[in-house]
Amino acid sequence: MIPAAFDYEVAESTDHAVQLLGEHGDDAKLLAGGHSLLPLMKLRLARPSVLIDIGGLSDLAYIKDAGDHVEIGALTRMCDIAASDLLRRHCGLIAEAAGQVGDPQVRHRATIGGSLAHGDPASDPPVALLTVDAELVVRGPGGERTVPASGFFTNFFETALGPQDLLTSVRVPKLAAGTGWSYQKFHRRAIDWAIVGVAALVERDDGTVKRAAVGLTNMATTPLRSAGVESALAGRPASAEAFAEAAAHAPEGTNPPSDTNASAEYRTALSSILVRRALEAAVA
């Protein structure tokens, strides 16, 4: 399988990438790790006439401590995120979700910016970032702006990015000390996407849930937060019983797909089970 022909440009800097996007407009696509875009191009499901390669922008590949948050450059690869001590210390959920992507070869190429911009509701890192209330930094024709993860995913493979926007970094808030987390990914074959995935954060005050955040992978056309589960938990004891009760709210507001991997009904049942497991693992 060979992609359709295209013109190839190499961005020498972030500014140059934005400029090239301006010149080529809607016909151009950014190429980062290529692990979403190239498979689509090989199947001819995507046929951009120009590829702008941003893979060499090493100044966008970093993970750094920025005070109350950790900042991850858009070109940072999954293998580096999964192995980051800084992230493991302050927001282990993100490192864990990145380590669940595909296989080692995929993680050596896939970038966090590409994973977000692709907007696939079955992907793992977007849900983790939504669950921790990350903020995304975007460079566009009008300069720089920030978009909360909660406003970024607009529809199936659609995001708040315009055709001339470049995602430059992600800001991950540091978790309050003692916040437990878990990412539960359910799939049948080793390197597959999640049939359903659940990200959970549980912040406790003595034995009581002060705040819980729960995100769902592959349960709608976008990554989702589960408001039903979150509000059912607030102020409740962090007990197995309370978790099981809250988990029953997992299907609320979802619209899961039916496909060859699982029916919508199967996903609905699975979501409650995985939410309960994720909550229990988060406080274990």
Binding site: M1, I2, P3, A4, A5, F6, D7, Y8, L31, G34, H35, L38, P39, K42, L51, D53, G55, G56, C79, G102, D103, P104, Q105, V106, H108, R109, A190, I191
Partner: protein, 168 residues
């Protein structure tokens, strides 16, 4: 056409390529290095695995132009002066192949996995670490044993050293 310069198995290779040419076809057809196989062509099987700057990647899911300025290592460079690489020797000794189609990819993936690890790999680490490589023949058991043996040989001294300084 675009001119690229890629260091392949230690030798700088310059070529004019079509931007849409995949790295695996650059290796196989432009350079004649047919040791790297194409199994699925859909990023699933890992038989096309090569090293890019020392790390395993699936060369069916990369453009040759993306390798411009980088180093690529293929199975052809593993044996030196007629001596098998420790991973190749371990596959031979542990009977880690039958038809051999998956083997170049397995060996390149294993090399990256072994060098990234802090010490000798456990069976579970090998199985998870090779999840991107499929084999239709062996049932994996002997591949896992071969990679564990090679990891012991290549990294056997590492854990003891790391233990002292507490380094990673």
């Amino acid at each position: 056409m675009r001119q690229i310069s890629v260091t392949v198995n230690g030798t700088r290779r310059e070529a004019d390529v079509e931007p849409r040419q995949l790295l695996v076809y650059f290796l196989r057809e432009t350079l004649g290095l047919t040791g790297t196989n194409v199994g699925c062509d859909t990023s699933t099987c890992g038989s096309c695995t090569v090293l890019l700057d020392g790390q395993s990647v699936k060369s069916c899911t990369m453009l040759a132009v993306q390798a411009d300025g980088h180093e690529v290592t293929t199975i052809e460079a593993m044996a030196t002066n007629g001596e098998l690489h420790p991973i190749q020797r371990a596959f031979h000794e542990h009977h880690g192949l039958q038809c051999g189609y998956c083997t170049p990819g397995m060996i390149m993936a294993a090399d990256s996995l072994i060098r990234e690890a802090a010490g000798p790999l456990s069976e579970a680490e090998v199985r998870i670490g090779l999840e991107g490589n499929l084999c239709r023949c062996t049932g994996y058991q002997n591949i896992v044993q071969a990679v564990m043996a090679a990891s012991q040989e290549m990294q056997g001294g590492v854990k003891a050293r790391a233990g002292k300084g507490g380094g990673s």
